[in-house]
Amino acid sequence: MRKGTLRQILLITDGCSNHGEDPIAMAALAKEQGITVNVIGVLDQDIIDEQGLREIEGIAQSGGGISQVVYAKQLSQTVQMVTRKAMTQTLQGVINRELKQILGSQASIEQLPPEKRGEVMEVVEELGETVNLQVLILVDTSGSMKTKLQTVKEALLDLSISLNARSGNNEFSVFVFPGKKGEVDRILDWTPKMESISSVFPKLTSGGITPTGPAIREALQQFQKRRSLKSLFTHDGDDDVYIEQSM
């Protein structure tokens, strides 16, 4: 089996968007393009309001991903767990699709007897270890996130430790919103190493608006750009296979 690439957007936020397009619609758009959107809500002592919570769940749901709300302290553990689980979920979707082709439209992993499931799971794990991964991280830096940025930075460094232990390749890119001038700023271009964000993070200023929707839109464009650039440089476009989850 040829090695494919999984594409994910990881959104780290602490509340509701208040500017630009509906983020839930943008997440649905991402899913259509085979990009999974995962959301992590970060709490302080205070509790996220009902509306913010609904938005977090909504984005993940329409983005085909996972959402989780945590206290800042647990962020590191959560970031790596969400990313890994979303990978497994996508890969499982791929396996399910293959199973349907072989066994008919009703088949899925859950419908196999437990004895057979184990073998399928081994394939999923094998894929999870070797597949290439692109994660675009969107960090909300509006007002109340200010105090949590140090924790976010540590969680991202921790994520790269976890993912770089795999044998597949990883690429990360980090965007913050709102940006200094526009809605979104890129602070880290695609790279397998995350260490360089340490120097960028402390200098971030926080703005008033929360343009979550536009941020997801911008992230999608980045994936697109990357795709077209790659096909320019690699002669056989076949080389780059993106794995998408079947629904």
Binding site: Q61, Q77, K85, T88, E115, A165
Partner: protein
């Protein structure tokens, strides 16, 4: 398709007396009480007929399957019980929710977790348990696995002759892959002292942290310089200080196999520095006994000579 990451509340509150019957194999298990909760599911004590079993149930079929795979592999290692024995794997249809949950059934290992055991039985047990653990880990590593989520909660000490057993194989990973599940305090990545690749040295780091945790039951959080922080904690505790050198070799990933660390721990225990006091005490007693014995000897000779002299005098007078 949205996956909730943590187990739903319904699974946490399965009532005592509920009977869980498998969809495929039709075995019946009567729930007795909850034993523990993990990131992937809830473990209950249950009864099948007259035997007690541990039953783990979850809404994450995939995570459960990979745990079952590990347990199956463990049972292939004959003669040594590395984890709990796997007895059954099945699905349960929740009667009210009509949802399907996966579960698997294992042998119930009765005993205390490591921290409780040490608190009950005393510090001298730490080294015994660590040596046992290193022996088991060596076997596990040789079979091509790394335990991963090694911590006192996942170690049960059971039996009349206390023996440590590994439970919860959620973090157990094939050597060379990325560690599946870990706990920050015992993870070398968290302390900035290594990768999260599944290698024997990953587990050995955790073993060193378990020893530290035994002496500092309240775990502490990492500060700016994790390494320096650990150095202070180790050198300021008399028990840990005895094993300082070995602990650091484990923390720095210098041991390539568990057996090596085990050997050095054994050597460290036999070193004179640990036992001088005792030996000195014994020697003093010996000397005293000898002195007493000599004194008795002298008296005996003196009495003998005196007796013979008296006999001589008596004979002379007659």
């Amino acid at each position: 398709m949205v996956m909730t990451m943590y187990t739903s509340n319904n699974l946490c509150n399965i009532r005592t007396g509920t009977v869980i019957q498998g969809k495929w194999h039709k075995h019946r298990y009567e729930i007795i009480k909850q034993l523990g909760k993990g990131a992937n599911g809830v473990v209950y004590l249950a009864k099948e007929g007259r035997t007690f079993v541990a039953l783990k149930i979850s809404n994450q079929a995939t995570a459960m399957m990979s745990e079952v795979n590990v347990l199956k592999r463990f049972s292939e290692v004959q003669g040594v019980a590395l984890g709990p024995c796997l007895l059954d794997v099945d699905d349960w249809i929740h009667p009210q929710e009509k949802k399907i949950y996966s579960f698997y059934v294992m042998e119930y290992i009765e005993g205390d977790d490591l921290l409780t055991f040490i608190q009950k039985r005393g510090k001298e047990w730490i080294i015994v348990i660590i040596l046992q653990l290193l022996g088991d880990l060596h076997k596990l590593h040789e079979k091509g696995w790394v335990f991963g989520d090694l911590k006192p909660e996942n170690l049960i000490v059971s039996g009349k002759v206390p023996k440590v057993r590994l439970i919860d194989v959620g973090g157990t990973t094939i050597r060379g892959r990325a560690i599946k599940e870990f706990t920050e305090f015992f993870d070398r990545g968290y302390w900035g002292m290594g990768t999260r690749k599944a290698e024997p040295s990953y587990d050995l780091f955790a073993v060193a942290m378990i020893m530290i945790n035994m002496c500092y039951p309240k775990r502490f959080e990492r500060k700016e310089n994790g390494r320096e922080q650990l150095r202070l904690m180790i050198s300021s505790h008399p028990y840990l200080k005895t094993y300082e050198k070995i602990l650091w070799r484990a923390l720095d990933g210098k041991y390539t196999c568990a057996y090596e660390m085990r050997k050095e721990l054994l050597q460290c225990m036999q070193q004179p520095s640990m036992q001088t006091e005792k030996k000195r005490g014994e020697r003093v007693v010996h000397v005293k006994e000898k002195k007493k014995f000599r004194w008795v000897e002298t008296m005996f000779l003196f009495v003998c000579v005196l007796f013979m002299y008296v006999v001589y005098l008596y004979v002379q007078i007659l």
